[in-house]
């Protein structure tokens, strides 16, 4: 009773891994009592790695007599340091989710009829290989396309490269961080990686440009972010929506969507004008500073105010905050940056701002990348063949700086739709909801009609699963091995192991096994000289100095990193001249702007709003909405709309409306959330819900997917990344489109009546952008 609860004792106990008949600490009172009364249960605590999202936290699973009963964070793992988020905790419910794919199936009815027959793995794999080989025989191996995502997706990507098809793509590039990586590589010669090398905990100022930390839960980043807040960091939250991060911010800058580059250019202008940059770093480690100075001369805060609707004095004040705090200024590079189709240039602007503040390798800035102290044995397998035809997605040629490892999903869809430059006649979709991740869902759906064969590998069914010719059900991440997860750099370096924590519950198989067995049937046995992936990992580690036994027992092995530069130490950047490229000759030679330029965005037009979207902390992409423990927290998203605008259209909170985009594509009914925390010219819909997913029983089947409304997109000519925030929507109630009867601006003008009835009490509301003040009570909750 007198025991003190200390972090240390917690660590000690949590770190205990193994089997035993003791009462499990992580089990419930009732479970514990039951264990005392009856036969002692066999309790195992097994470390592994989470995959409810792609941050890959270390976890410890508690398994009672073979049943998974609990998951908690692995205190040894640098990604999450003993903590896990709602989704990680809910991994237990994923394993036992009743709507999982439970055995291999071959379609018997028409495609999309939902009629399959259950078959053996042998039959499913033989049939799949036969169909893939038929496509290959008729159209060549390149006619086989692959969409893969997640840790086990690598096995499929490898399979297609061994096979000789260049046509594989993952949404992690074009729909996520591709343009950021390209922008940072152009500037610094290296990208920020994942986990991003950010010293949030020691930053004095944290600048978030559309990065909704707190709703986007990447555990280690949230730990550091909240530590940073507790250490007194001031946050500049640039977001058209009052995000959780904005609620922690000193400055909320409700920027006009699409104008971020103008804001960043004005910040650079102000910092150069006020000589607030790091002179030594700029002199010793960058090239192109004089070109940059000339370039930004006209981009004054006053210029930016007209574009961004952020007052010039606020731009100056926030620029000053950054200058004063440098180098402990964490300018977040963002992660999902596929916004407007000119995102490489925006990422470049952010990278240039970071560079002149001199935050590279500094406390409170960007960590350095370190050398990993071990190397792994490579499997003795033949080299993958060089594909005979160019990839259809244009990565590396039409889009010169696109990743040829991750590819461009939307271009693979387009090529399948047009069958140009050459036919694509089969798809394998591996662990990805292609209807919820790739824009223009109609195109994706139509492209399936052009396929001779379409196979889905996944853990749970999603909407595109419905059209599959063959379904190959994969183990959950708690039932399988995956490749070693190695992070070099960051504040620590590590290797961690995903291993099965329970015996598989259904007739499913791990991704590595599915790839290997298909590979054998496609004549690629030479690439798969193993029966068990555990043997591969053991062989990889054999001469590395890393003990497989220890890794299996602890889940992770860490190594020190060198995150900071010594005083006076200069860094050899990985660019051609070892310097940071403020001016990019590489871009100039490719015919693009060598220094970022702001490209104007269109206004939505009367009655329309720009559709923006983002994540919710309890759901990951389209992966988790059917998880009963998460669905009970948030089962459907609300559409955020400015409260004055909403009221002027006669709407009430929680009322349902239909959302229709510029192409006439409609959602099903969506509840609305009216708030002053939303710009008047945009609406916000959280991502990862709905669609017309059939076969999933326990959650709404209403089509409330943001991606359904993203029928239009732009493509970044440099990276091939998609711009997804280019759709305008209006609200429909009782079959009538609604139109606001007031105009609301965020630059110091009162809400102005334009027509119809003025809402009571709104005449006096003004919209002056100022640093967020403390105090004042508010009305009521929801």
């Amino acid at each position: 009773m007198e025991k003190k609860i200390s972090r240390r004792s917690f660590l000690k106990i949590s770190g205990t891994v193994g089997t035993g008949a003791a009462v499990g600490l992580s089990t419930s009172t009732s479970k514990a009592k039951a264990a005392v009364r009856t036969e002692p249960k066999k309790i195992e605590r097994i470390p592994s790695v989470c995959e409810q999202c792609f941050w890959r936290c270390g976890i410890i699973a508690t398994v009672e007599d073979g049943k998974l009963v609990n998951i908690e964070g692995n205190p040894l793992h640098p990604n999450n340091r003993g903590k896990i988020c709602a989704r990680g905790n809910a991994g237990v419910a994923l394993v036992y989710e009743k709507d999982r794919l439970k055995g291999p199936m071959i379609r018997v009815g028409e495609r999309g009829s939902g009629k399959w027959r259950e078959v053996s793995w042998n039959e499913a794999l033989d049939y799949t290989a036969e169909k893939l080989l038929a496509v290959t025989k008729k159209y060549g191996v390149e006619a086989n396309g692959l969409f893969a995502h997640g840790a086990s997706g690598y096995f499929a990507t490898d399979l297609y490269s061994f096979w000789g098809s260049p046509n594989s793509a993952a949404p992690s590039f074009a729909q996520c961080k591709g343009s950021r990586d390209v922008g940072y590589e152009l500037t610094y010669g290296e990208n920020m990686g994942s986990p991003e090398r950010l010293d949030l905990a020691n930053a004095k100022v944290i600048t978030l440009i559309g990065s909704a930390l707190g709703e986007n839960i990447h555990t280690g980043q949230i730990i550091d972010f909240t530590d940073g807040l507790a250490n007194g960091a001031k946050v500049i939250a640039v977001d058209p929506r009052f995000s959780t991060a904005a609620s922690k911010a000193k400055w909320w800058l409700p920027i006009k969507p699409g104008t971020d580059t103008a804001l960043v250019l004005a910040w650079i202008n102000e910092i150069i004008n006020k000589k607030g940059y790091d002179e030594t770093f700029v002199r010793n480690s960058t090239t192109g500073f004089s070109e940059l100075t000339d370039h930004v001369k006209e981009f004054t805060p006053e210029w930016a105010e007209k574009i961004t609707e952020i007052p010039a004095n606020v731009i100056r004040e926030t620029a000053k905050a950054m200058m004063d705090a440098k180098p402990a200024v964490l300018v977040h590079p963002g992660r999902h940056v596929a916004w407007y189709g000119n995102d490489v240039q925006r990422a470049r602007a952010v990278a240039i701002l970071s560079a002149i503040l001199g935050i590279w390798g500094q406390r409170g800035g960007y960590f350095l990348k370190s050398e990993f102290p071990a190397s792994y044995n490579a499997l003795d397998i033949p080299a993958a063949p060089t594909p005979k035809r160019q990839r259809v997605d244009g990565a590396g040629y039409r889009f010169p700086l696109a990743s040829t490892e991750e590819g461009l999903t939307q271009e693979l869809v387009k090529a399948t739709l047009s069958q140009k430059p050459y036919p694509i006649k089969s798809w394998m979709v591996f662990g990805q909801n292609i209807f919820n991740s790739i824009p223009a869902k109609r195109d994706t759906r139509k492209a399936i009609d052009n396929l001779d064969f379409y196979v889905v590998v996944d853990v749970r069914p999603t909407e595109p699963t419905w059209y599959a010719d063959v379904i190959l059900p994969e183990d959950t991440y708690l039932e399988r091995y995956d490749t070693l997860m190695t992070v070099t750099g960051w504040y620590k370096q590590y290797v961690s192991l995903r291993q099965p924590v329970i015996k598989r519950v259904h007739n499913t198989k791990p991704g590595w096994w599915i790839a290997k067995e298909l590979g054998k049937r496609l004549g690629l046995s030479a690439y798969y000289p193993y029966n068990d992936y555990e043997d591969v990992i053991k062989y990889q580690l054999k001469d590395s100095g890393i003990s497989f036994t220890k890794l299996k027992k602890d889940g992770v092995i860490t190594f020190p990193a060198k995150p900071f530069l010594e005083p006076g130490e200069s860094y050899q950047f990985k660019t051609s001249d070892k310097k940071v490229h403020l001016y990019s000759k590489e871009l100039k030679d490719l015919g693009f702007d060598p220094i970022p330029v702001y490209e104007p965005v269109n206004d939505p037009g009367k009655g329309y709003f720009r559709l923006v979207y983002g994540l919710m902390p309890v759901h990951s992409h389209g992966k988790t909405e059917s998880n009963p423990w998460l669905n009970t927290l948030i089962s459907e998203p609300h559409l955020w709309i400015n409260e004055i605008i909403g009221k002027s259209m006669g709407l009430k909170n929680d009322e349902e409306v239909i959302v229709e985009n510029q192409d006439g594509i409609r959602s099903d009914k969506i509840k609305i959330l009216m708030t002053p925390g939303m710009r008047p010219d945009a609406v916000y819909l959280p991502h990862g819900f709905g669609g017309n997913d059939r076969g999933l029983l326990d959650y709404t089947k209403r089509n409330i997917s943001d991606n359904n409304l993203i029928s239009k997109y732009t493509v970044d000519p440099i990276s091939g990344g998609t711009g997804l925030r280019v759709n305008f929507v209006r609200l429909i109630k009782d079959e009538q489109p609604l139109s606001p009867t007031v105009e609301v601006s965020m630059t110091g003008v009162s809400a102005k009546k334009v027509s119809g009835v003025q809402q009571e009490g709104e005449q006096n509301k003004t919209f002056n952008i100022q640093p967020k003040k403390k105090a004042s009570a508010i009305k009521e909750g929801c």
Binding site: M1, E2, K4, I5, S6, F10, I13, V23, L25, T27, S28, T29, S30, A32, N70, I71, E72, N80, G82, I84, C85, A86, N89, A90, G214, E215, I217, T219, I222, I223, T226, L229, A230, F242, S243, T244, A246, S247, K248, W252, P617, V618, W629, L630, T632, T675, P676, G677, M746, K765, I769, K772, K773, K774, A775, A777, I778, E780, G781, C782
Partner: protein, 242 residues
């Protein structure tokens, strides 16, 4: 002697709901019930003074706990260390404690037909481990400890201004404290004030406790008789021992 309490640091909390799911997992709490919760409020205010606030709650382990008084069987009681617990063997599932709780912290498990609620993970605590919600909290926004120890972190946070959710009408000595420097706590208090306890009346005692107990007794006695009779049939009278 220890007296346990928890501080919720609203400045740190980012409303990720990890605590809620960790608790569900540890105690097999059936959906849609919960032993702890994060209620997200809609961002409100007058621009630019907007607040986005979440109410993080759990059993307040009150010093003057109405649930303890309302419980007719003594199943709900307060331990010496301040933790209010439910003895499942004594609980008859009458639900009177649920009506008495000002914070909505209790539910009846529909399968077990027993009341359940947060017990500060006392089994873990006694083994020197933090409660599950505290252990998983990404933002380190939940701080658990002993307020009888003036050097504990909870004591220090309370000394620095953490407040319990009480009102002029309801103050039953709650032991959950809220730390807040952005004026967010008044929003929580306005949206979720402690409710005035609905204490058992003689009428309720009859309908919810005595009548069911009466029928239970009758039923039990009948079943007992039936069991004895059946045994007698199969085994013969001589085998039956008093």
């Amino acid at each position: 002697m220890s007296k346990y309490a928890m501080v919720i640091d609203m400045d740190r909390c980012i409303a990720c709901h990890a605590c809620e799911v960790a608790c569900r997992s540890h105690y097999d709490v059936p959906v849609p019930y919960y032993r702890n919760w994060v209620h997200d409020l809609r961002p409100e205010g007058v621009y630019p003074d907007i607040k986005k606030v979440s109410y993080v709650g759990l059993c307040n382990h009150c010093d003057d706990a109405p649930c303890v008084k309302a419980c007719p069987t003594g199943a709900t009681y307060k331990r010496k260390d301040g933790v209010v617990v439910v003895d499942k063997d004594l609980c008859i599932g009458c639900g009177l404690c649920i009506e008495a709780c000002p914070y909505g912290a209790r539910y009846i498990d529909p399968v077990k037909e027993k009341v359940d609620k947060c017990d500060f993970c006392i089994d873990r605590v006694e083994q020197g481990v933090e409660p599950a919600c505290v252990a998983t909290c990404i933002a380190s926004a939940r701080i658990f400890g002993d307020i009888d120890d003036p050097n504990s972190k909870v004591s220090q946070l309370i000394a620095s201004g953490a407040q319990p959710n009480v009102s002029s009408k309801v103050n039953v000595g709650p032991n959950i404290y809220y730390l807040d420097s952005h004026n967010h706590f008044p929003v929580v208090q306005a949206a979720f004030p402690p409710k005035i306890s609905n204490m058992p009346t003689p009428q309720k005692m009859w309908t919810k406790v005595l009548r069911p107990l009466f029928w239970l007794a009758i039923g039990g006695s009948f079943l007992g008789q039936l069991a004895a009779f059946s045994t007698q049939l199969f085994k013969g009278e001589s085998d039956i021992k008093e």
